[in-house]
């Protein structure tokens, strides 16, 4: 399945834009996505941490992804 990933903050610099498209196996999990992203963008591994959000909620590594989900990479937040 094709998914679109939104990127913010430092993740935008690492991915080279505000979004990227990736091909994932059907029913891939957040963990699968992170593994693939870290292969393609090794600088993600240098971050203090980062989370994946699915449909505006923080997701867990075991959560599965679907083609129309809104998926975002959330690097360490620093609002306020």
């Amino acid at each position: 399945m094709k998914i679109k990933i939104l990127a913010f903050g430092v993740a935008k610099d690492i991915l080279g834009g505000t979004s990227v498209n990736l091909e994932l196996i059907n029913d891939a999990t957040v963990y699968n996505l992170q593994y693939l992203l870290e292969q393609q963008y090794p600088r993600l591994k240098q971050l203090s941490s980062y989370m994946v959000a699915v449909n505006n909620e923080y997701a867990l590594p075991g959560d599965s992804l679907h083609e129309r989900d809104e998926i975002a990479i959330i690097p360490p937040v620093s609002g306020g």
Binding site: V10, Y58, S78
Partner: protein, 139 residues
């Protein structure tokens, strides 16, 4: 409890935030105002640049306000967060909380700003004379 949560690219208005939380039932209002500091670890900061994942940031701020009102008897709670380019002395965030008694207002206000800084998807970039850095991105 009622709340007013906004993300804006326009300057924030302190007085209208205070006016919004004020009510005849309230005995106290606690306000936190974040301001852009002119240095980080002794290094001069020229400006800050904020960006937000807006729909999720709003959803997370709604959760925080809900948690605060579950913990303390809050009457009104307001979070206004600015995005875009901010110069030294400008205001990135206002939190205002009203309650019947001061303890709840103080505690809820502190909880809201502390939790916002941990969970709400908003990012700031510090711009220095010789470069720029996304705050907290790297160890």
């Amino acid at each position: 409890m009622t709340s007013d949560i906004q993300i804006s690219s326009k300057p924030l208005n302190i007085q209208s935030a205070i006016d919004w939380v004020m009510s005849p039932e309230s005995g106290g209002i606690d306000v936190f105002i974040g301001t852009v500091r002119n240095s980080t670890k002794g290094k001069p900061v020229i400006r800050l640049e904020f960006e937000a994942y807006e729909p999720m940031a709003i959803a997370e701020m709604e959760k925080i306000v809900k948690q605060a009102s579950d913990k303390w008897p809050v009457q009104k709670a307001l979070i206004h967060h600015r995005i875009g380019v901010l110069e030294v002395g400008e205001i990135p965030v206002i939190i205002a909380v009203s309650a019947a008694h001061r303890a709840a207002a103080f505690d809820a206000c502190r909880y809201i700003i502390d939790t916002l800084k941990q969970t709400v998807p908003i990012w700031k970039k510090e711009v220095f004379e010789d470069g720029e850095v996304w705050v907290a991105a790297h160890p």
